[in-house]
Subunit: 198 residues, 2 copies
DNA sequence: TATTATAGTGAATAGTGATTCACAATTCAC
DNA sequence: GTGAATTGTGAATCACTATTCACTATAATA
């Protein structure tokens, strides 16, 4: 039977989400257009009505990820006025996001998106740089407010901060959910605070 | 012309190394048996004399990586008697290793090796767990020697330690060598020491 | 309502790449 | 040196998958 007609905007979103789901569940290698189309309830050739090709679909998932990250940033700055607290909240949000979208680490570290021209590896780098930049700003603000040691370099701290998020996420995903992120963070976060708090 | 006959042991090593080289230079997607065979100076079908198939070649690269990591551990315990110093040396070794074998992050995060049965994801997890276990031991030893804060949980510290290594490595590789690891580490390492040193 | 742009379909194409196999050369054991 | 085991070769196969295209149904618009 024939799929109900939908406008390109919603289809694009559906397709990108379907791709992320498949990557999360089966991995990038198993990501083929048939599977994506099936998940959306379309026929492979229909995807070409909405995307130029597979490559562009991958790009779309990247865009989705960037939006999720930016969304997280916006939310935490609204939830608390304290930079340090914002960082803690952001950490929590990131970890739940990665647990929900297991596709993220796979996409970030894949080389399938590494087309030199349009971006690929560079695009991923830009996203992470953007996140690091925002964290830097939070750290600097923390210094202005007397919460954070003034002798620390905000950029360095931002990378260290990333280091408190990444390994737990990766261990969790490699262990297929066995690594206990919450328990780890309960012990690890105080170490971070201790290291940066004035 | 015909390639000189070599025994399987050396061929296996050559093939695994060739695979790693290609992954480092072109990525996992570009890793096909023709390319591997060409690099070794063989014909694709010849690879089947030494490996059961592509999957097994990937596994072999994993084994190679594990050996490199264990080698690093052995060396640093020989180079210094101080656990904290050993950790610093190990960090340096790891970063240079990753710079030399860019294939490592790609292999570790790929899903091509994720065969539920023989290991795959589990195999990678085991390697990292092994590394973390060793680091834990170093931390515990540091506590016994009065170098490290006794209230810290060694396992937690080992994950934090990993967090000081991973992000720089990843940023370096995503930025195609632009991110300055040494400069970052010069600032970041004191933060780690400060956090764990008694 | 008639026309047109938009979205969906199924079949065909075409390239790629892993794997198999019968055969040839080389090395090893005896 | 002779036969067996090992390693290398090239052609053939086989599956998979991205992409194209002519055609059809549906929604939008005038």
């Amino acid at each position: 039977m024939r799929a109900e007609k939908q406008n390109t905007a919603t289809r694009r979103r559906q397709i990108a989400l379907a791709a992320m789901g498949i990557i999360a569940r089966q991995g990038l290698k198993e990501l083929n257009l048939s599977a994506v189309a099936r998940e959306v309830g379309l026929v492979p050739s229909a995807l070409y009505r909405h995307f130029k090709g597979k490559e562009e679909i991958l790009q779309a998932t990247l865009t989705l990820i960037r939006e999720l990250i930016l969304e997280n940033l916006r939310i935490v700055t609204r939830e608390s006025p304290s930079p340090l607290e914002q960082l803690r909240l952001l950490m929590r949000r990131h970890l739940t996001m990665i647990q929900e979208f297991q596709a993220i680490p796979r996409i970030v570290f894949s080389d399938e998106i590494s087309v030199p021209e349009a971006g690929g590896k560079k695009a991923v780098y830009k996203i992470i740089r953007g996140l690091l930049g925002q964290v830097s700003l939070l750290v600097a603000r923390g210094q202005q407010m007397g919460q954070v040691k003034p002798d620390l370099d905000p950029d360095t701290v931002s990378v260290i901060y990333l280091g408190f998020i990444q390994p737990p996420a990766i261990l969790w995903y490699l262990s297929q959910g066995n690594f206990n992120i919450d328990r780890h963070m309960k012990k690890a976060w105080p170490v971070f605070e201790e290291a940066v708090k004035l």
